[in-house]
Symmetry: C2
Subunit: 215 residues, 2 copies
């Protein structure tokens, strides 16, 4: 994978100076981009190794050899999605940081074509994709823990606030409402969910003993 492209899903122009690994990386990017495009067009049920290979302009034996099956392709898409330098918002306020995070989740879950929902749906059917999806979420939540640590440092939250359950509480309503309930009609969902988790945390709901902090 090279670094010149503007968009995340654009196929790169051929590199005039191939380096070791350059062609393999380019093939991988082409194949993974094709997986995302096929998922967006046809969903998991329409995803086949043949269609991916055709779209990527790669021989299908190459795809079978390297990724084996659709589950392997999806797992690699998810692993590649985590190999970035994403960092959680840092606004100086817990509620604002969580709202920014939720805005990103909201955008991902409501984007057209619905690639992220298709990946999540696929994780219900491919154990390999499910593992990769959980690795990705785990990594994302780990990168968000600093949001909670900073809020504790600023005195917004009581010491000993558990970061992970607070982050899950802040973000879970988006997955539930948008993905499971299929309802994207509430314009306040991202902020309200962030605010509710922040207030609950300030009131001590995520400390080990559950006693209020400054609430």
């Amino acid at each position: 994978m090279t670094s010149e492209t503007p968009g995340p899903k654009t196929a790169r122009p051929p590199d005039p100076r191939p380096r070791p690994g350059g062609r393999t990386a380019r093939t991988r990017r082409q194949v993974l981009d094709a997986v995302l495009a096929e998922l967006g067009d046809h969903g998991y049920d329409g995803l086949t190794v043949e269609a991916v290979a055709g779209r990527a302009g790669v021989h299908r034996t190459t795809v079978y050899r390297r990724w084996r099956d659709v589950g392997g392709l999806l797992a690699d898409v998810l692993d590649a999605a985590g190999a970035d330098d994403w960092a959680a918002p840092d606004t100086g306020s817990l509620e604002e940081d969580l709202t920014g995070l939720n805005d990103e989740i909201h955008d991902a879950l409501t984007a057209r074509p619905p690639v992220v929902p298709a990946l999540i749906a696929a994780s219900f059917r491919s154990p390999q994709a499910a593992e990769a999806q959980r690795r990705l979420w785990d990594d994302r939540y780990a990168r968000c823990e600093v949001v909670v640590e900073r809020a504790v440092g600023r005195g917004e939250l009581p010491p000993g606030t558990a970061a992970r359950p607070l982050l899950v509480a802040a973000t879970a309503p988006l997955y539930h409402q948008l993905l499971l309930l299929g309802d994207a009609s509430d314009p306040h969902l991202a902020r309200r969910s962030a605010r509710a988790a922040a207030r609950a945390a300030a009131a001590g709901a995520f400390t080990a003993d559950g006693t209020p902090g400054d609430g």
Copy 2:
């Protein structure tokens, strides 16, 4: 499957005094029980009209005529699940009511075989099942709104607290943690999620203006 098996999915013994509609209702019950049993054994991917008909001891033309396809079968299972007299807990405390509700969700999402997760997974693939799943959730949340109204009446929550977003905030972490993250290791999940939502609500996070009530 024959009808002598114990457990909640047992087909009824033949009624010695058939009434009008009794046979149709019995056939429906047998077929829907067979859907649940097949889902538990094989998941959505293994679900076929033929297998359901065979397990229910019903001719497959009957199943095709009445339910048409797997989506129709799943939708009817979900509609039948909602046709009960379930009522939300009424303990006199918002946190306890929500914890009781979450305990039920926790049990449903972690039961073996995983029938409820299989139904939810199916709703990602069958629009008809998705519609029925949403009808069921909508009905359940509607029945839970009284929990919030009672808490407002007792002075636990500020007037104008919106019931539905509070209920979603209380329950969503269970779906996220158990179903999407696939992690059932936290014994405090049900209570902590209930408590966090209750505290956020007491602090005014679910009123229209978001101002604190008595927090």
